[in-house]
Structures are given as C-alpha cells and as structure tokens.
Amino acid sequence: MDNLILALGWAGLYGPMAMGAIGSMIGCSLAGQAAAGALLETETGHGRYIGISAMPSSQSIYGIVVMFALNRELTLGNAPGLAAIGLLCGLALMFSAIYQGRSCASAINVSKIRPEIFGMSLAPAAIVEGFAVFAFIFALVISAGVPA
C-alpha cells in the first residue's frame, strides 16, 4: 500500500508535465493539419496559420513549471496531496490543449475564408488558454500547502 501511495505521488509529480505534453501534441497536430490545408487554399498569410497551430504548446510549459513547483522529497505524508494536485492539473492541461487545438483549427478554417476576422476567430482559443492558466496558477498556489 505504501508503495502504491508513493507511486501515485510520483505520478502526481510527473503528471502535469506528461499530460500537458500529450495535450500539446494532439492540439498542435490538429491545428497544424488545419494550417497545412489552409496553405493549399491561400496565397498569403501562411506564417500566421503556422503560428496559430503552435498555440496549444503552452500547456507543456505550464506542466513543466507545475512539476518543478511540486518537486520535493516524497513521503507517505505528502504523496497523496502531490498526486491529487498533479494529476488533476495534468488532466486540465491535457484537455485544454486538445480543445484549444480544435478551436485553432476552426479559427484557421474561417479566417482562410474571411481574413479580416482572423483576430476575432482566435477569441475561443484564447478563452480556452485562460482556463489552462487558471489550472496552472492555482496548482502553484495550492502546492504551497503540501508538506515538504
């Protein structure tokens, strides 16, 4: 049982990083595929499509920061707390990256048709990013309460 609790603690430590990276991979891939298609259909503005497709990569960075903030010597006393914060934050980052990728793909699709709405079409992706920032910030705040 002790080993299981410690294993969960380690999963909590590495979870935000791993799940954030998984989410970023999927999100960037979805937006990147949309950007690749838009390149075929447009004459200009290629750089911005590729730029948008990199938006979901921020969740990996948040994951790395949370991982460092949670990093401490694992004990039976702090492992459950680390597991709970790390895994939940990781899930939040993973899903936000995937859905941000889908929002970016839609933004690329509509701004390809009407380039003047490019900025506005990015609003949904920015809102999703906002929720990832919430998960990230409050994971940092709450990690201060986990015993070292």
């Binding site: 979805l30 595929q33 690749a36 298609g37 838009a38 075929l40 690329i108 048709i113």
Partner: protein, 231 residues
C-alpha cells in the same frame, strides 16, 4: 482518418445565387479528395451517384426498379445525417416526378413509384393540387402552380436553393468530418449544375435573339444585298 487538412483545403462556395464561377475545378477538387481513405471515397462516390442520379445513370431503368435501387443504395450510406439528406433530395425528386406525371396525364396514381415517406400520400391524394402536403411542405404548394405554367427552370432553381440550404446546415453542424466533406462536394455539384444551366440559357437566349434579328426585314435585306455583292 483526420479531416482537418482536407476541410481547410476546400475553398469557400458563395451562396448558390451568387455562384457565377466555380472556385475550384473538378480536377483540382478530385486531387484534394485523394486525402480521403478508400472507404470514404466510396461513400462519397455513392452519395454523389444518388444525389445526382440523373446525370450519372448509365442505363434506363423503370421507375419501380430505380426506387428499389435507391432504397438499396441508401442502406449502404453509413452516416445517418447524409442518408437522411440524400433521402430528402430523392423525396423531392419523387414529388416533382409526381407533379409532372399528373400534368402529363398518361399515368394514374397506381403507376406512380417514388421514394420516401410521401409516396403513399401522393397516391391517396393524387388529384389534390399539392397532394395534401401544403402544410408539411409549403415549398411544394409554391412549386405546383409554377410547374403547371411550365416554368421548369424556376422550379429547379427553388428546389436547388432548398437543397443547398439543407446541405449547408449539415456541413456547418459538423466540423472536420466526412459529413463536412460530402456536403461540400454535393454543394459543389449543385453550383456547377447551376452555372452549366446559366451557360445553356445564355446560349439559348443568344440563338433566339440572333434568329429574331436575322428574320427582321431590314436586316434580311442587308444580308441579301451583301450576298448579291459577293456573288
């Protein structure tokens, strides 16, 4: 299969009324559709052959056999929404065929074969102007007098507008899926058909105008004198 690349690689089609030139040729479209898997390509081909059955029907089948063929082919469409969309297109085809058949008067209701939920109703209410479907299908009530006047072009335009809106609704409710791709290709077909019709109409108008001008006595005199000078 991911449809993200393909969907964003498809151009925007303006509204049917504004479609004066195809934004992408069939060759270029087919090249992009090679991104689909073999299975998706088969589904698309089947959907197109059902939606545009008239232009691609290789052999002349009786109405009854044609309906059986449609029914069988519809069961092979995997997407429920696409199946319903094609079915409603074929239902409209059946309704227009019934109007035409009744107008010609050579066949009675018992010889009418159509596809979909309205077939029995059409037979039962054969002698009513819009087969008693005015409430369920207000567009049919508008089309019936046009059909009677022989305005087939206007009837086709209105039905195509309805089909276009239906396809657009499905396309917008599905993002990056096979439904989006199929609806786009079917809309492309409607636009192409309309442009083709416009071109045919323009040619017809030109020919009839040319005939009227040539028949005008003053012009005829000029032409005859020109021929005499030449000879």
């Amino acid at each position: 299969m991911s449809y993200y690349t393909l969907v964003t690689a498809l151009p925007d089609l303006p509204t049917l009324a504004k479609c004066k030139q195809m934004p992408i040729s069939r060759i270029a479209l087919d090249r992009r559709l090679t991104m689909l898997t073999d299975e998706d390509q088969q589904q698309l081909k089947l959907a197109e052959s059902l939606y545009y059955f008239g232009s691609k029907q290789p052999e002349m089948l009786s109405d009854q056999k044609l309906v059986y063929q449609w029914q069988y082919q519809l069961t092979q469409i995997e997407s429920e929404e696409i199946r319903q969309c094609i079915q409603s297109r074929l239902e409209w085809q059946s309704l227009l065929a019934a109007l035409r058949q009744r107008q010609q008067g050579d066949k009675g209701p018992e010889q009418f074969y159509g596809l979909g939920r309205w077939t029995m109703r059409i037979r039962q209410h054969w002698h009513e102007p819009a087969f008693g479907l005015e409430t369920a299908l207000p567009l049919l009530a508008e089309l019936q007098p046009l059909m009677q006047k022989g305005a087939a072009g206007e009837v086709e335009r209105q039905v195509n507008n309805w089909l276009w809106q239906n396809l657009l609704r499905i396309e917008r409710s599905h993002h990056f899926s096979i439904e989006t791709v199929i609806c786009f290709v079917l809309r492309w077909g409607l636009a192409e058909k309309q442009i083709q019709n416009d071109a045919d109409q323009a040619l017809e108008a030109f020919e009839s105008m040319a005939e009227v001008l040539i028949d005008a006595p003053v012009i005829r005199e000029h032409i005859e004198s020109a021929f005499e000078e030449l000879s």
